[in-house]
Amino acid sequence: MNDRFEVPARLRSTSLLLIGVGVLALIIAFFTLMGSHSTDADHTRFWAGLLHNSVYFAFIAIISVFIQAASSLAHGGWIVAYRRVPEAIGANAWIFGSIAALVVILTILVFKDHHGHNPIYHWVHPDGDKILEGKSAFLNKGMVIGFTVVTVALWGFFGRKFRSLSIAQESAAKNSTKGYFKFMIWAALFLVVFALTMMSTTPWIWIMSIDAHWYSTLFSWYVFASSLVAGMSMILLWVVYLKNNGNLSIVNKEHIHDLGKFMFAISVFWTYLWFAQYMLIWYANIPEETTYFITRQHGPYSILFYGGFIINFCMPIIILMSRPSKRNYFTVTTMALIIIFGHWLDFYQMMMPGPIGEHWTIGWYEIGLLCGFVGLMIFTVSNTLSKASLIPHNNPLLKETVIHIS
């Protein structure tokens, strides 16, 4: 049973190449977008692009930690065959979290336009804006940076803790369940942290506060659903890759079918929250709230607004509905790529209309950064995967997962 993964040279060089593209894009952007002939709009694009990508990938990484916590508390046997994948992504949550935190902090502290305002986080300088002054007990530099640092520290800690607990189980006595139940206690603790960060405060401070006047109680849950489906797709991509590489021999179509079902179901769940948020704001028609959707649905962002809906809802529901398509490696892999890109666009349309305004572009810079983060994800996760057995030996649910039927 081939349960060791050695990073193939091709994968390593691809990941380094992608990281190189990302770094190059950043360096070129630093000299052009931030250069001496650049405008405020260029500066904003520089920071907003970084913020968009780093926040998205931090969320994808933390979702892997959440999936481990949720599935182990529910005694989920289905995921055990490939749980090293979410473990490896989660163990690198501290890297992606730290990058996001660094970008958020720099955006707050360093970034200014030539009037001295902050075009991304307007609340940094309320300048007599009554509403922003009213919010300043929460939206102020100290509070937001404090929340950011504590959140990322906790995420990073749990991501690494989960993996080390799971690996410790390998050396436990045969059929010992002690480690299994110990994991559940940590998983329960993580869910509390998760509720207070991802399910509430983190999307407020990182994303919602970009449109600093606007508010929606559902917002964080919506962001969570968006990240969850992207995170699930990310896990699927790794599982399929490892399978093609000759690893994960105990994974079969039943397990792929499960991941396909989750991609389908969470896409529908995302749409449910999308609809709930949109419909209630549209129906009540309160100007303070509709302004958010007016800038997105009409004008230059409308292509992202409708296109995102087609990519993130219509495509998954039509393509992943049938059983054979969820059991077909090619279909699920393609859909996972589409979903990850679709929700990257969704994050883009959440974050850009405020700072960038009408003249948005997804060009060399944005795609370059995306490549960089993808490369970093491949590099770090493959590295972590190679450090331990891919089969979680001794896990009390391992034999169930072998005979699992989707």
Binding site: G77, K130, I131, T217, L218, V268, A276, L280, E288, P396
Partner: protein, 476 residues
Amino acid sequence: MHLKYESIVREPLVDGNKTYRQVTEDIISPIEKKPGKMWYIGFFISLILLGFGAFSVFWEVYFGIGVWGINRTVGWGWDITNFVWWVGIGHAGTLISAILLIFRQGWRTGVNRAAEAMTIFAVMCAGQFPIFHMGRVWDAMFVLPYPNTRGPLWPNFNSALLWDVFAISTYFTVSLLFWYSGLVPDFATIRDRAKTKFRKRAYGLASFGWTGTAKNWQRFESLSLVLAGLSTPLVLSVHTIVSFDFATSVIPGWHTTIFPPYFVAGAIFSGFAMVQTLLILVRKILSLEEYITLGHIEAMNKVIVLTGSIVGVAYLTELFMAWYSQVVYEQDAFNWRIIGPYWWSYWAMMTCNVVSPQLFWFKKLRRNIPFTFIMSIVVNIGMWFERFVIIVTSLYRDYLPGSWTYYSPTWPEVGFYIGTFGLFFTCFFLFAKYFPVVAVAEIKFVLKTSGDNYKRDMAKEDEKSLEEFVHENSHH
């Protein structure tokens, strides 16, 4: 044959040394006996409550809706509170039968039948409230859209209240079908054992001539899957649409985007609490402790602590956003909820729904039956107050201070509510007497994987190495 194997970390779902025959005997035999004295007392009390409810409703229909305490400012009071409360309770059944089926949760088999029955009775109770709230109840058919002789008069399709009519009636229909189709093989079992001619006829009729052939089972399985597929979106949609009744408005405290998922979580929360209340009694009275085990109770308590915490996050999010929005109306609405004249309802809601369920983080308490029973009632008190808080404390101080008011119910409103308890328990007593309260066929389905006696034989699988195990089972 697929290997019947389950991990040692899972508790048995059926305790004791059960055979298929023993399962049938344990669950069906109470139906064939005369009910005990307690059954008659309980049934009689339920009938009295139902009678009192019918009288209260008669009073309201005869004298008009003015006999209720609701007024121009507080147009929705106990009636809609009770409506939402009962619909919410009616969520657990479909969640258990559909969503837990899709998630392959074996423990649902012990509790799904009673939970589905409870769902149907709860939705029946819920439906009464908006109907009699109409006042002129004889015009109730006006909510139904059909080509009619009333000229161009159609219901208002833009109204969330009309969506509710569709949502609730669809939900009721699908839940009923789901419940009934599950009952068919069990009715046939009762028929086959029947000693009296009448019983044989009655259950024979109810079982649609089920013979238990492979084809029967195959069709049964596909029907279950289709109904589960239909019910899954319904579990979300019903309470989502109930939440739209409030959230589509521009009333502070009602208009908030988190309502749809948070209502669904709250509904599951209260539904599971009601299932606990009923099943803790049923398992004791009908001696079904080996089928509705401590493990089942613990699993449901986990759902309660999860959904209670989701609801808690939603309450705090709402509260925070009311401040964060910097909209004075929102801020005041929440301020008055907390320290206004109805402060006690807000704090009752917070205590019962958010604070006390947190005790279920402790395994000892999750497996403590008296504690669970008390908590299940506390949760439903809390969930009733949640609806009261949302409805009454958002309405009683409206935009015009001149119309601020304080609302208390009158006896026909309270009587109506009590009457729905009568209806609910009358139905439930009849169900417990004439229907198998645990799904016999479904218990048999999980018996050889999760039955205590069968699980003991799995130790030899656990002794095998992974390679050996994979080798033996990798031919599918």
